[in-house]
Symmetry: C2
Subunit: 430 residues, 2 copies
């Protein structure tokens, strides 16, 4: 029987060159999150399915999750998102934890769906959450973290936009202006959330079918507004709009110029309760939402403890990698290995391994070739693995303790003393 | 409905203090592996179950795995070990990859069993593998990597022992000396593998039942030998014993003194074909195998490509953490956050966030308290989160641009200029 070498459908293999890119992306996420004081946490990918059932129990676990029954009869889900896990953990140590709490994690998440560009069955997602602060300063910080990560990746302000909205404002529009029921409001919200994935015509049509011509027109007018000043008089004084105003002004004052009000920003999850935002790729050939987040003020209370204010966002690795590729912002592959020792003859294995181990003590990452192949094949391996420096160890080197250090990129080779190897490599050659 | 805040049975939540320890353990594993030229790879935890079925298909997927059928009718397993995945990936790019290949990964693995001390349903495991070298120098390197990781953790030579054996030697003993069938050999091997977990009496008894008194005595005599010199004359010249001899001598010559020959070392997996080893905790109150590995020369050929020699080991995070705790080798928790800014009054949020953002540009990780609580509560949060430095920002600081920097550990507080904060924190205070 010959087995398949393919990974499971919708998942990825990370060969060293892929892992390099992933580690780069994760390291930027980590660095910025930690600079804001966020502490890393994690949990198992396995969660009791009950965690994803709605409060009242009326909704079943989303059909797009991986859910199965374990041998003990327990229903288990591969986590489709991290926020419920974070809320569970916060609730679990509600009393021991010192609030406010800044937490981040880069978990892998699973969803069961047809794989397509930018949507896989398994992806990783940075989650940044601030618990225990209801001041709008927390919302502003969360948006700043997202902005700073984009900047740390090298993104230009004109290549992305931050679109901000307020769920409380939308609630006002849907309930108080349009007089929609809870159910209709939710349907409409879901429709708006899909707006960027639909033909404009189709979107208008569905809105009209849902609301009737007249109400639809009122609503579409609001949706097309792109600055707070353009809102109808009576709306400008709403606390939810004032809050939006403050967020926009404060962030602009901090140098974030590419931020706009956008009433079409809803964010999929039902749990958002205040400011919501998304980072939008403005590339005309592929404009789309990259990631986003917002305020959710009552997730922790599902666990029977008093409510904890929360605000956060999630940033997926597939979408962001795609964005960085498009704008040529990914670094070139560089292996962690710095030096390749080719060894001429089995008798020199012991000497080469001793030399390698000395160099390791000097902080150099050294690979030794024990294959006993011709030296040309050994150098070729180093070249194909993109290892920047090569030294061949033969009788002469063993006798003289002087070595030919080859810089692979330039092809330049020089005879060097044993004592100089470490420093030369650290300084990038000659 | 009140939901449980417990993690799924047999899995762990990693709060920031746990993540700190895990990251420390991973960073040591990474550092040593990379110093030997190993490159990081990874894959999904989801694998087609066929990957774990034996060559001939006669064995079903181990009952101790998490296996389920996806909605497309495909049988999926949460990987119980990483080596099959690595072999699949190597086979998949057999032609593009430049051998020898040094790969490492720290995947999470799953097994379905009753959780107990040191055995959880989910654990992480460092996997270090060298593909494409059949020279015994590769086996020696792999053992060196394991040894160096133990040393990098601060373990003393006298607190662990490396026990080495050769599967080919055992095969000779079982097939040629004891004349056992393949099936009996395998049963016996499994029994020896469980030796350390059994009462000595019970072990002898089972051996006797299996082999008969006389053969059992011959065999037990061999099992009790602890140096190669003590082996019966005819065995010393066997190539498999010569190989063991070379490994022991070479590694001792490199300064690894705590290495011994031990014929009871078998290693569970069927796929090992040559040198096998384990790192053993010699603590008298809890002596046990910590981790191990060995040579497996024909895993990749299961995928229909020509064989690739392999040698490697796996080191689990639960066992090693337990070991490090026992010998008090774990570092004290230190948050990544360096400075906590307490803010007195909502009007100063904007100023504090600007100050924080300037300090971040100087490389300091800064958390700002936007909770509007009394300053005492804010300082207490910093203290409970073990953040080493605190500055309170009030009207006076805003006016004078001079700040009281408090070193939390000593309680010492000094008034400092804005320009000096970064350097003081980087240097650990005053």
């Amino acid at each position: 029987m010959q087995r398949s070498t393919e990974p499971y459908k919708g998942t990825r293999d990370f060969y060293p060159e892929d892992t390099f890119i992933r580690n780069y992306i994760f390291s930027v996420m980590r660095k910025v999150s930690e600079s804001y004081g966020y502490l890393e946490y994690d949990a198992s990918i396995l969660e009791d399915s009950a965690l994803y059932k709605a409060k009242s129990g009326e909704e079943i676990v989303n059909e797009q999750t991986y859910t199965f029954v374990d041998r003990g009869g327990r229903e288990v889900t591969l986590r489709p998102e991290m926020t419920p896990t974070a809320a569970r953990m916060v609730a679990g140590k509600r009393k021991e934890l010192a609030f406010p709490l800044r937490w981040y994690s880069i978990p892998n998440l699973f969803r069961y769906e047809r794989p397509q560009r930018g949507r896989l069955r398994e992806h990783w997602q940075l989650n940044v959450d601030l618990f225990g602060v209801d001041s709008v300063s927390a919302d502003e910080e969360i948006i700043s973290v997202a902005f700073d990560i984009m900047k740390a990746f090298g993104a230009h302000d004109e290549h992305f936009r931050i679109r901000v909205n307020n769920r409380r404002f939308m609630k006002y529009v849907l309930n108080d202006v349009l007089k929609l029921s809870e159910t209709r409001s939710r349907q409409l919200a879901k429709l708006i959330d899909r707006k960027d994935k639909m033909e404009e015509e189709k979107f208008y049509e569905e809105i009209k079918t849902m609301l009737g011509e007249e109400t639809a027109d009122t609503f579409l007018e609001i949706l097309m507004i792109d600055t707070l000043d353009a809102l109808p008089r009576g709306m400008i004084d709403l606390p939810s709009v004032q809050e939006l105003n403050m967020v926009l002004n404060d962030l602009r004052a901090r140098g974030i110029e590419n931020i706009v009000f956008d009433p079409t920003v809803i964010r999929g999850f039902d749990y958002y309760t205040g400011i919501v935002f998304e980072i939008f790729d403005v590339n005309p050939v592929n404009s789309r939402s990259l990631f986003g987040g917002g305020r959710y003020d009552d997730l922790v209370s599902l666990f029977g403890v008093e409510p904890v204010a929360g605000v956060g966002f999630g940033m997926g690795d597939v979408t962001i990698r795609d964005y960085l590729e498009t704008y040529r912002l990914l670094p070139d592959y560089q292996p962690t290995t710095q030096l390749y020792l080719c060894v001429i003859g089995h008798e020199l294995h012991a000497y080469a391994s001793k030399l390698a181990s000395e160099l390791r003590r000097e902080g150099i990452n050294v690979s030794v070739d024990y294959s006993n192949r011709p030296v040309g094949s050994q150098v070729k391996t180093a070249d194909r693995q993109k290892i920047p420096f090569v030294i061949c160890v033969g009788e002469e080197e063993y006798e003289t303790k002087r070595f030919r250090l080859r810089v692979m990129k330039s092809g330049v080779e020089k005879v060097v003393e044993r004592a100089d190897i470490g420093a030369l490599i650290r300084n990038g050659g000659f």
